[in-house]
């Protein structure tokens, strides 16, 4: 057992997982490996890549007991692929599979049955939600789930920490030789940023589409040179679950107040200058911050060099209005964004490695100025939890949270001081996803706390009329209103390991009683 840099107990070794390295700081790991390379295989002239169905694809790829399969989560709650493929794997009697998608959602609840019947024995993902998350929190899996950030997953794949035997990738538009993108078709999702990594590193790549288009399908997010097989199906996802409609502006006065404070922090921080860059979440407060910044940009004639992310319609609008020069997009969050990426050359698709892999020669988050992030809990060391609820149960995703916080010059958390009766600012967060030393400012409706490490920001912001407090003062304010919550009682079994983006373990999640 080791105590890592943020004071969490990390086992040295876990049966079935291997040796664990403890988190030592955001940039403490020097990579010493060579980049992983997939097995070389060949397709000869006149050989067709088209297969009948998923069953034939599983057989043709040579999938066997104990292998690792991967998927992307661009279809979000509308995804049909993961459940279809795992059902078919179960039907073929293959067991002991590691499921390594870029993330999992509530729609993947049927996986519970395949854990019970021994088809899925390990999971590696960014997020877990719904009844699958509940079951894992109660200890249904023998081995702990590995939680990775988007950048951390790209790093793990490129470094060979995760070796994908077969990637099953749903693609909204694809030709019969495997050139695919997310620009058209009834299941269009825009960027395929997460899938691009899997396509380049998996030993075998199966594309599954409901929209076969004439060759060549260019520009292609996934290229024919990476693809073994193509399967045509009637439906690969439910469009209603894939992209949400236009994101609405919040009218919630509390969110608007948080946004007003956060926008002022940004304006006074000095980072809002011509050529700046930013990333925003999709929460009501985050979107309202972007709207407020937009106003200032127009008034002061400031243009952003790029916006990063998770792109929403709001950023697309700003791109079209000339307020942002380029969009770097790993994942389109709504209809407007998904439509724009196929038509606007300044809306650029990037893969998860380009976005946030800390162990390449410079990912996009490294040149990000401002990021606005949400939080379920923040503790008095500024550590942030976005994965477990206040009851200790898994219900979120690591996403790009720790990646952007580490890379950006100014990372801002926006959250209400209290949700329902649950304080957001607490003594100890249930789970640490993002270490406090990478968080600069926490903005709540009842006050703002600046990380004491950022003396420069404290000096700038104390000259304003913003309600600045220490993080301890914010915690006390919350407890005064809601009462001090009783700590959650956990069991002994570790149900998940939280890997920091560099591959070290920042925290463990135990079963809930």
């Amino acid at each position: 057992m080791a105590i890592n840099k943020i004071g969490r107990e990390i086992p040295d070794y876990i049966e079935g997982i291997g040796e664990l390295k403890s988190y030592e700081g955001p940039f403490s790991v020097e990579p010493a490996k060579r980049r992983f390379g997939r097995k070389i295989s060949t397709i000869t002239p006149k050989q067709s890549k088209i297969l009948e169905d998923i069953e034939q694809a599983i057989i043709e790829t040579g999938l066997k007991d104990g292998m690792t399969i991967s998927f992307h989560h661009h279809f979000r709650e509308g995804d049909y692929i993961i459940n279809m493929v795992v059902d078919t794997i179960a039907k073929l009697g293959i067991k002991n599979i590691t499921l390594a998608p870029s993330s999992l959602n509530s729609v993947h609840a049927p996986i519970i049955e395949h854990i019970k019947n021994g088809v899925i024995t390990k999971i590696e993902t960014s997020g877990l939600r719904g009844s699958l998350a509940d079951a894992i929190s109660k200890g249904i899996l023998e081995y702990p789930v590995k939680i990775r950030s988007h950048g951390g997953r790209a790093r793990a794949i490129e470094a060979g920490d995760v070796k994908i035997d077969v990637a099953f990738l749903g693609v909204p538009a694809c030709d019969e030789y495997g050139n695919a993108n997310g620009h058209s078709g009834k299941s269009f999702c825009g960027s395929l940023g997460y899938a691009k990594v899997d396509a380049q590193y998996a030993d075998k790549v199966v594309l599954i589409t409901d929209n076969l288009v004439p060759y060549p399908n260019v520009p292609a997010s996934i290229a024919q040179t990476d693809v073994d097989f193509v399967v045509k199906m009637d439906a690969i996802g439910d469009p209603k679950g894939i992209v949400s409609g236009a994101t609405r502006y919040t009218k919630n006065p509390r969110e608007l107040l948080i946004a007003k404070y956060a926008a002022t922090v940004i304006k006074e921080s000095g980072y809002l200058a011509d050529g700046f860059s930013m990333q925003c979440g999709t929460g009501g407060a985050s979107l309202a911050v972007a709207r407020s910044i937009k106003q200032t940009m127009i008034e002061k004639d400031i243009k952003a060099s790029f916006a990063l992310g998770g792109i929403t319609g709001q950023f697309v609008e700003m791109l079209e209005e000339g307020l942002i020069n380029k969009l770097y997009d790993t994942q389109c969050f709504d209809l407007t964004a998904a439509k724009s990426i196929g038509t606007n050359p300044n809306h650029v698709e990037i893969d998860a490695g380009f976005y946030a892999n800390p162990h390449n020669k410079g990912c996009a988050v490294n040149v990000l100025d401002i990021v606005i992030l949400s939080a379920l809990e923040v503790d008095t060391e500024f550590n942030v939890n976005v994965i477990t609820g206040s009851d200790g149960v898994l219900r979120g995703a690591s996403g790009g949270h720790c990646d952007t916080a580490a890379g950006s010059k100014l990372s801002i958390i926006v959250a209400p001081l209290i949700r329902g009766r649950i304080p957001t600012i607490v003594e100890n967060v249930n789970t640490v996803i993002t270490p406090g030393e990478t968080i600069d400012v926490v903005v709540t409706d009842r006050g703002i706390a600046v990380n004491p490490l950022r003396t420069d920001l404290i000096e700038k912001l104390s000259k304003t009329n913003l309600p600045i407090f220490t993080i301890e003062e914010l915690k006390e304010k919350a407890e005064k209103i809601a009462g001090k919550p009783k700590a959650i009682q956990y069991g002994e079994k570790i149900v998940a390991l939280v890997e920091y983006r560099d591959g070290t373990i920042i925290d463990v999640i135990k079963e809930v009683k």
Binding site: D391, G420, R421, I481, G483, K486
Partner: protein, 98 residues
């Protein structure tokens, strides 16, 4: 205060609490608590409820609570209202109330 009939106060909206007070054949208070934040605040809610009942001098009652994360002040207000309704009290001395 004597609980004579079934009465309720509150809603199931987020941050509110719905409280039903019923007459009981047995001495003492029977408390049924169902709360979104039971793990974190269950004990504190029970304390606040029993204290409030004591202040209202309620000795016999069944109290059913569906809590959606209400703050203590909300729980007290809803409980007072439910008890007064159950006791058939139509006038209330606000000045006497702490």
């Amino acid at each position: 205060m004597n609980v004579k009939t079934i009465a309720m106060a509150g809603t199931l909206e987020s941050s509110d609490v719905s409280i039903v007070v019923e007459p009981s054949r047995n001495e003492g208070i029977t408390l049924e608590l169902n709360s979104l934040v039971e793990k974190q605040y269950g004990e504190q809610i029970k304390c606040v409820v029993l204290e409030t009942l004591e202040q209202l001098k309620v000795k016999k009652a069944i109290v059913k609570i569906h809590d959606k994360g209400a703050l203590d002040c909300v729980i007290i207000a809803r409980l007072q209202t439910a008890v007064l309704r159950a006791a058939g009290v139509e006038t209330f001395n606000w000045e006497e109330e702490k």
